[in-house]
Every structure is written in C-alpha cells, then in structure tokens.
C-alpha cells in the first residue's frame, strides 16, 4: 500500500512537471495535428485502390495504426529525458538518498512516460470520435469497435516505448544523441519485425507472429485483406499508410478487428515487455552516483600549501601573498579580435571530446567522397559523410542552454552579430570536412548543377541544426528530425526531400536555399529574444 502511494506520487510529480511545460502543449498540438491530418484525408490507409467506409471500425483502425506507428516514433523523443531532468534539477540526488530501489525508480519513470504518451492517445481517441461524426459516411457509433484499436494496439506500443526511453537513458552509449539516431532504426525494425513470413506471402499469421507485432498494423492488415478479397478476388496484396498522395478510388465495408484470446494476450504481452525493459533499465541505472556518471569526479589536487583552519588563519597566510603585479593590464588594442578567431574557437569546441577513431572515420569519408566513382560518391558515400557528424551539428545553438553557459556567452559583446554566425560557419566547415571530397569531384567533372546542390546542402544542414538548436534549446529535435529526413528523403532520393542535392532527379537546390534562409532568419530572431539586448 505504502509502495503504491510512493509510486503514485512519483508518477504524478513526473507527469505534472511535464504537463506544466510549454513543450507538453506542443506535444498535444502534434497529436491534434496528426489527428486532423488523418481526418482531412492527408494520411491515407489503402489496400490496392480501396479504403474503408468511414465507420467506427475503419476510423478506429486508422487512428490506431497512425498512433502505434507514427506517434511511437515521435513519442520516444518526447518522453526521453526524464532521468536527465532529475539529474540536472538535482532532484535525483535527493531521491537517491531515500530507501527507494532502482527498479522502483525506473518503473515509476516508465509509468510517467506512459502517462504522457497515453494523453496523446486520448487526443487521438477524441479525434477519432469527431472524425467519424463529421465525415458522416456512417454516423452509427460503436464505441468498442472505434476505440479498441487505440486501446489494444496503441496503448501497449506506447507502454513499450515509454519503458524503452528509460532504458536508453540508463545505458551510457544510448542516453545521448547516438540513442536518438539508433531509435529511428530500431523503430523501423520493430515495425518490420511484426510482419511474419506467412503474412508477407499472403497467408495467415501464426500465433507467434502476434507476439512480435509491435504496432498491430500487420495483423490488422491480414484481417482487412480477408475482407477485401470477398469484394475483389484480384486483390494484389498492396497495403500502404501514406502521407499525401492520390486518394483511393474505391471503398469497402470493414467491420472491425476480430479479437481473439491469442491476439488480446499478445497485445498485453507488450505491457510485460515494457515492465521487463523498465526493470532491465534498473540494472544500468547509476542512481545519480557522480562516480558512475560520464565524467568521474577526481579528487581535487590541492596545491602544496600548509593546511589552513578558519578565516583568521587564512588571513594570516594570505597576508604574505600579495596580488599586486600579478595581473598586467590589457591594452585597448588587445580587446579586438577577428571574426575568424571566434570561428576557430567554436570549431574547436565542436570537435573537442571525440575519440581518435571519430576523426579517422571523418577523414576516411572525405577521402571516400574524393576517391570513389562519382555515382558512388554522390550516392552512398556522401550519405554516410552527412550522417556521421550528426552529433556535432546537433550541439549547435543549444550548447549554451545545455551546459548553462548562456550568462557567460550572452554577456559578451556582439553575441548575436559575432558568436552566432561563428557557430554557423563552424558548422559549415564540419559539413565540408566530411563531404568536401565530393565538391572536388563535381568541380573536376564540371557538374555545376551538382555543385550548386552540394553548396546549398552544405549551408542547409548546419542551418537546420542551428535553428532547431536555438528554437528548441536542445539537441534531440534535430537528431530526430534529421535522422528521419536523411533516411526517408536523402537515402531514398525522394523528390523534394533529398537535401543532399547531388542527384539530379531528386535535387531541389532552390527549395533548400529558400529553406536555409528561412531557418537562419528564424534562428536569428529567436536568439535576439534570448538576448536581453541584441
């Protein structure tokens, strides 16, 4: 009973801390936006050229799938950071001094994360209700049919994501930007893993398939296929959940997910996975022990001086230790440096702290861009070159907030006019340092269109990083967005989405130049408001 009360208060405090922040409103706004996009028909689930009639079953299925796929990706980034918050606010040290066990703490943090994600599911449920009534293709409400995909597909997925976010935070390698990048690929893997081999071939899923279906999408898809085959025996087994695109031309009547005991048990298993992940996290959790944090505090090496006790004794000692003459005045001329010095300082700050192999890979990528055949260089090699420094870019614009150095930097002269542009130039140099080999190749090949696209990309990437860093005050937003953009837009050479600009068919230099200007303007304006006097 007592433990239950402690757990309740931990989760409650965690939840209230988050919901009282502006970022929570942004989180809900995102859920509303996603709900609206689904309602407006911009997010479409279709089988060949069919979609379901907008009845409770179809709307519920659509919302459930959108939530357990798209929202789980974003939700992770939203909730990750709860342990870090306890660390930075130093509340963690107070908690560490209580009898609370590590497992209890990581479980409470997972529940806190889940409460936030569940509130987003709630928004989607309201959106589903509104959608069915406003779309009015079938106004008969079947609440269980409408809400069961959200309750049994979305909520268990969210519980697992909530616990994974805690697990990532406790693992030293995954707690930072590397974890943010890896999550995207892990999420992709989780979605794909749910599609069993039988289902891929058009057969029925086995019972085992249900248990590793993270989103519920594949098992729902199989049931829909059975229904649609009755309408169209020539169904080609094409299923898509897409944003935008041509709306399907035909409709069919979908009556909802037919839940059986195995499916329900499989969905509840994800709650068990979540508890297991939360408890696993407790194994790695450092319990706010500074000795186990990243920078091990070493004993202060006191200079060799006699021991001093109390102020009176200190005064005696210091009396014989005059200060005069130790500091020579600075001449006015020495207080004028060149912009390039600030750029060099920012560049040094950006590149500091990596291991030797990081620089070796970066150098290898430069050489790879230079030495590989041009199609490979402007394809796979440049992609690798422009994902490698992601954690360097992601510090841009947010480093001052992260390390609480704003008061030192922002009280320096011309912080807006000098320091901010210096950060951007340093970011451009980093982008060139890994991918610059391609520019030389394009120049030699006299591919001016490719070169223009490359130049714009070199400006665009650091602009995106700087703007998102300044606007969000953290690195996570850029790490998440850039990874998704890099994979879906650049790696697949999506027309309009490929910011690398080196493949003629997907390159849009003008678009990305305009975006660069907009991002820099937004970043400049935001930083102006952060400085009391610009």
């Amino acid at each position: 009973m007592k433990r239950g009360r402690v757990l309740w208060h931990l989760v409650k405090a965690d939840f209230l801390t988050r919901v009282r922040r502006t970022s929570f409103l942004v989180t809900l706004a995102f859920a509303v936006f996603l709900g609206y996009q689904t309602f407006a028909g911009n997010i479409v689930m279709q089988l060949d050229d069919f979609r379901g009639v907008y009845n409770s079953a179809w709307v519920g299925a659509l919302m459930g799938v959108v939530t357990s796929s798209f929202l789980t990706l974003v939700g992770f980034y939203i909730v990750k950071g709860s342990i870090l918050r306890d660390e930075t606010t130093r509340v963690g040290q107070i908690l560490a001094a209580t009898p609370m066990s590590k497992g209890f703490y990581t479980l409470a943090k997972s529940l806190g994360n889940f409460a936030v994600l569940a509130s987003m599911v709630f928004v989607m449920a309201v959106a589903a209700l509104c959608m069915q009534l406003i779309r009015a293709e079938d106004r008969t409400l079947h609440l269980w049919t409408l809400l069961s995909p959200l309750l049994l597909y979305a909520l268990p997925s969210m519980a697992f994501v909530a616990a994974l976010a805690v697990l990532f935070e406790t693992l030293p390698v995954l707690r930072g930007g590397v974890g943010n990048v890896i999550w995207f690929f892990l999420w992709t893997g989780l979605l794909v893993a749910g599609i069993g081999p039988e289902a891929t071939r058009g057969g029925l899923p086995t019972n085992a398939d249900y248990f590793h279906d993270f989103s519920g999408l594949p098992t729902m898809m199989v049931q829909m296929r059975t229904t649609i085959l009755q309408v169209d025996p020539n169904f080609h087994n094409n299923f898509s959940l897409s944003i935008g695109g041509r709306p399907p031309q035909h409709r069919f009547l979908w009556t909802g997910v037919r839940w059986d005991s195995v499916q329900v048990a499989a969905r509840f298993t994800w709650f068990a996975y979540a508890i297991a992940a939360a408890l696993l996290a407790s194994v790695f959790f450092h319990r706010f022990d500074p000795a186990r944090e990243r920078f091990v505090r070493r004993r202060e090496e006191a200079p060799e001086r006699p021991p001093v006790e109390g102020l009176a004794a200190a005064k005696e000692l210091v009396r014989s230790d005059p200060w005069a003459g130790r500091l020579t005045p600075l001449s006015p001329a020495s207080a004028k440096n060149r912009f390039i010095s600030v750029v060099a300082a920012e560049l040094r700050l950006m590149l500091q702290g990596h291991r030797w192999w990081w620089y070796a890979v970066a150098g290898g990528l430069f050489i790879g861009c230079l030495a590989a055949p041009l199609p490979a260089s402007s394809g796979g090699v440049i992609l690798a070159a422009w994902i490698w420094p992601i954690l360097v870019w992601s510090q841009m614009g947010s480093r001052e907030a992260r390390y609480a150095t704003s008061s030192l930097i922002f009280s320096a002269p011309r912080a807006l006019q000098r320091q901010l542009p210096a950060v951007w130039v340093a970011g451009v140099l980093v982008t060139l340092a890994t991918g610059g080999g391609l520019a030389i190749r394009l120049l030699v090949a006299r591919d001016l269109h490719g070169l223009a696209g490359f130049a714009v990309a070199v400006c665009f990437i650091p602009s995106l990083a700087l703007a998102l860093g300044v606007l969000s005050g953290g690195s996570k937003f850029f790490e998440a967005l850039y990874t998704v953009w890099w994979y879906t837009g650049a790696a697949h050479h999506l027309r309009g989405g490929d910011f690398t600009g080196t493949v003629a068919s997907s390159s849009r230099p003008a678009l990305y130049l305009a975006l660069t200007v907009i991002l820099l303007a937004a970043c400049w304006m935001r930083r102006r408001t952060q400085l009391a006097y610009a």
Binding site: R294, F295, V296, R297, R298, E300, E301, P303, R305, V308, E309, G310, L311, A313, A314, K315, L317, V318, D321, W323, A324, R326, L327, T328, P329, L330, S331, A333, S334, A335, K336, N337, R338, S341, V342, A344, A345, R348, L349, Q352, G353, R399, Y403, A404, T405, S406, S407, L408, I409, F410, S411, A412, P413, R414, A415, R418, Q419, A532, Y533
Partner: protein, 293 residues
C-alpha cells in the same frame, strides 16, 4: 567611469516585482550589495550584466544607455554569475581560450592573460584537466578567472565566495580590494564578512528596494552606542530573545554570551563596538518595521 542605475524595476511573469524604483550611482571602488535571500540582488546583477532587460528605468554606463548600446558596457564587463556551467569536455585552458575569443580578445593577449589568471586562481597545475571532473570550488575559481579575462572596468560578482574554502575566500577578497582601484566592482552576497573585508560602499537591498546606501563607517555610526553584550544562563535565552533584537549568541563555559541591539542597555550589559552585521540587521529591521507600519 560611472554606472548610473536610474529608477530601475523588473517585473517577472505573474506580476511579481523583483526590483522596484531602484536608483544608485556608482564610481570606482567596491560596492557590497547586501540583502537577504530573494531581496532582488541577482535580478539587479542580471540587469547590470545585460542578461535581463529592466521592465522600467534606465541603466547608463558613462552616460550611454544600455538599452540603445549594450556593447558599450559588454566590452568592458566581467561577470561572474551565481549559477553558471562549463563545458565538461574542455580543459580550463581551452575553456578560457574559448571565452576570450567570444569576448573579443586577440589570441596573444588572451594567452598571456590566461597564464596570469590561472596562477592567480591557483589552477595552473590543473590547466589541462577536463572541467567535467572539477569540484564546485574549482569551477568557481574558473568562473572568477573568466570574469577577469578582459581586464574589466566593471566587474560584477554574484555570490563569488560560494563553495570556496577559507583560504581561497580570503585570497579572493584581497583580489577584489586590489582590483578596485580603477574600476567599479559590484559584489553581491549575503555573507556580511565578505563585504566587511572589501567594500568601500554598501547598498542594502530588501524586497527589491534600496534600504540604505552608505560607506561602511556611515552604517556603523547608525548603531554606535546601541550594541550591548552580557552573559546569561542558557535557560534565560528565550526570554531575552522575546525582549531584545538579538544579533548574536555564543555558548561558552560561563553561560551564553548575548549580543543585542537596543537603545536602552539591559541590566548588566556592557557596550561593545558595532560590527557591520549589527548595522545590517538593524537597517533591515528598521526598514521592515517601516514597511509594516
């Protein structure tokens, strides 16, 4: 060299005024800014350091309004905030080099200055060690060094001795005294002995308002002949506290030595020389009594 604070006020969200109609004119010397927790000291420091904009009023540096030209002050400003962070991957030397560049110092002058500063704050031996492993006191010394990087004409230090050991505290006080000759130093603290050791002027602040601004001697004169001390049994201490404004108590083998502020001497009490702490407590209680009335 003149810093003018003219009717400055700062209102935070929720219409909470941290500072109201605050005026002061500062010339070279050390101003000790004293006040209880939440008095508005840090808000005032942030405004003077161009970190926060005042809601009302003006701050002028040598006649230049900060609102129109903050860089006029920033180029000659050294600021040690109460809470500040460091980049854990950088060494002390690298961190100071970075800040020197951001502050606009040229590389050669910066290197020479950093060498001197690291010796000054006793961090020369650990100049190459990453800041992430530093103790609170060592970080505070890095903060002191960065505040002096550009040889500032206006040095603002907010609770600078927090986390320093007694020896470093005395060293820092001496440093402030020696630096004050040709510059304005504003020392904000609630540790009266820090101010006592260094300040040429004292400003008392409470509830966002200026309570008193005077030289230490002037403040002490206000309580001259009103500070008394005598020895009482432990059992009588509560009764004495009810009757008098007690500024200090000390338990000794012969009983409790009580120090009180009062116009009429208690029976058996001896007059003693007032300290700045007596003057500070007296000024605050007089101000509070006036505010209540």
């Amino acid at each position: 060299m003149k810093l003018t604070i003219d009717n400055v006020g700062k209102c935070y969200r929720g219409k909470v005024w941290a500072l109201r109609r605050f005026s002061l004119e500062l010339k070279p010397g050390v101003l000790g800014l004293l006040g209880p927790n939440g008095a508005g000291k840090t808000t005032l420091m942030s405004i003077l350091a161009t970190i926060t904009r005042a809601t009302e009023g003006r701050v002028r540096w040598n006649g230049t309004d900060l609102a129109s030209n903050p860089n006029a002050l920033r180029t000659v400003l050294g600021y040690l905030p109460q809470d500040f962070g460091v980049y854990p991957n950088l060494s002390t030397q690298e961190f100071l080099e970075y800040l020197a560049a951001v502050k606009g110092l040229d590389a050669t002058a910066a290197r020479r200055r950093i060498d001197q500063l690291l010796n000054l704050v006793n961090l020369a031996d650990v100049r190459g060690r990453p800041l992430g492993g530093f103790s609170g006191g060592m970080k505070q010394r890095v903060g002191i060094a960065q505040a002096l990087l550009n040889d500032p004409q206006l040095l603002i230090v907010d609770e600078p001795t927090a986390g320093l050991d007694p020896e470093e505290r005395v060293r820092f006080r001496n440093l402030l005294s020696e630096l004050s000759g040709e510059r304005i130093v504003i020392l904000s603290t609630h540790i009266v002995s820090d101010v006592e050791a260094t300040a040429t002027d004292i400003a008392l602040i409470s509830n966002g308002a200026l309570v008193a601004h005077a030289a230490p001697e002037g403040l002490l004169r206000r309580v001259e002949g009103r500070v008394w001390e005598w020895v009482i049994p432990s059992a009588d201490l509560n009764a004495v506290k009810q009757c008098y404004r007690v500024s200090n108590t000390m338990r000794r083998s012969d009983g409790v030595h009580v120090r009180v502020l009062t116009d009429e001497p208690p029976a058996g009490a001896q007059p003693v020389s007032p300290t700045l702490e007596d003057a500070y407590l007296d000024s605050l209680s007089v101000y509070r009594a006036g505010a209540v009335a």
